[in-house]
């Protein structure tokens, strides 16, 4: 598991590798929270190297999305969501809350 963040002019990119579950989800939540506390609400989450995401992961993303969208100050965009994760997000109507991009460039270029 690793979490990398990169800062761009208009957004910040977070990339995590490995599993997002109850064991690793808090580290991701902390990363997002720290960014938001520093005033970064336009966020891109690169999921290209996530191979598993439980509902713990969704709540982290939902929580972050709430924080970002409040006062219209930003948004969380998802990039490179693996198919099987996208399917499971759809199962519970989760994908409804996020714009999903095919690649990081498109997501960063959206802001």
């Amino acid at each position: 598991m690793s979490i990398t963040t990169s800062e761009y002019k208009r957004c910040n990119l977070v990339k995590m590798t490995g599993r997002i579950d109850s064991s690793t989800g808090d580290a991701l939540m902390k990363t997002f929270k720290d960014l938001q506390e520093q005033g970064h609400f336009k966020l891109v989450f690169d999921m290209s190297e996530i191979d598993f995401m439980s509902s713990k992961g969704w709540w982290v993303l939902i929580e972050t999305q709430k924080g970002s969208k409040r006062y219209n100050r930003g948004e969380v965009l998802l990039a490179n969501v693996p198919d099987k994760i996208l399917t499971s997000l759809d199962l519970v109507g989760m994908s409804h809350y996020f714009q999903v991009f095919d690649d990081v460039v498109s997501a960063v270029g959206f802001f």
Binding site: F52, S54, S55, S88, L91, G93
Partner: protein, 135 residues
């Protein structure tokens, strides 16, 4: 039949997932079904640790896998607190973002992902969760 016992810690979730994925692969499930089973088991084990055991380090989880020509079956056993699944409300799908709580999809998801989900509380000191995925 293959069985393995894991400590009831969140750090077991990865190893449990691998154990289940291997068994499901051996049983001939396709990639999507394997992922569904992994996800259902992850949710179930997280609930055991959080709700049945009330936290990490309070017990074990026994995982048992089995398959026949039609289906792949999983049994998860814990010695934690029992509960009544029928009283658990179904999460609202499609609610506005702001009104979303921050949890409560595990049971719902397990039922969505698996063909059968059944809690056995017949023994007072052990809960057995049985889940089946059709091939």
């Amino acid at each position: 039949m293959i069985s393995k016992t894991f400590p009831g810690d969140f750090s077991s979730l990865g190893p449990i997932s691998d154990f289940i994925a291997n068994a499901a692969k051996q049983a001939g499930l396709d990639e999507n079904s394997i992922y569904s089973v992994q996800l259902a088991v992850d949710e179930a084990c997280t609930n055991i640790i959080e709700h049945a055991y009330g936290g990490e380090g309070n017990g074990e989880i026994v995982c048992r896998c089995d398959s026949n020509s039609e289906s792949f079956r999983i049994e998860l056993r814990d010695q934690g607190k029992q509960f009544n699944p029928d009283t658990i409300p179904v999460p609202e799908v499609g609610a506005p973002l702001e009104s979303l709580g921050n949890r409560g999809a595990g049971l719902f998801l397990m039922k969505k992902l698996m063909d059968q989900v059944e809690f056995d509380f017949s023994k007072s000191n052990e809960t057995i969760l049985r889940m089946t995925k059709k091939k």
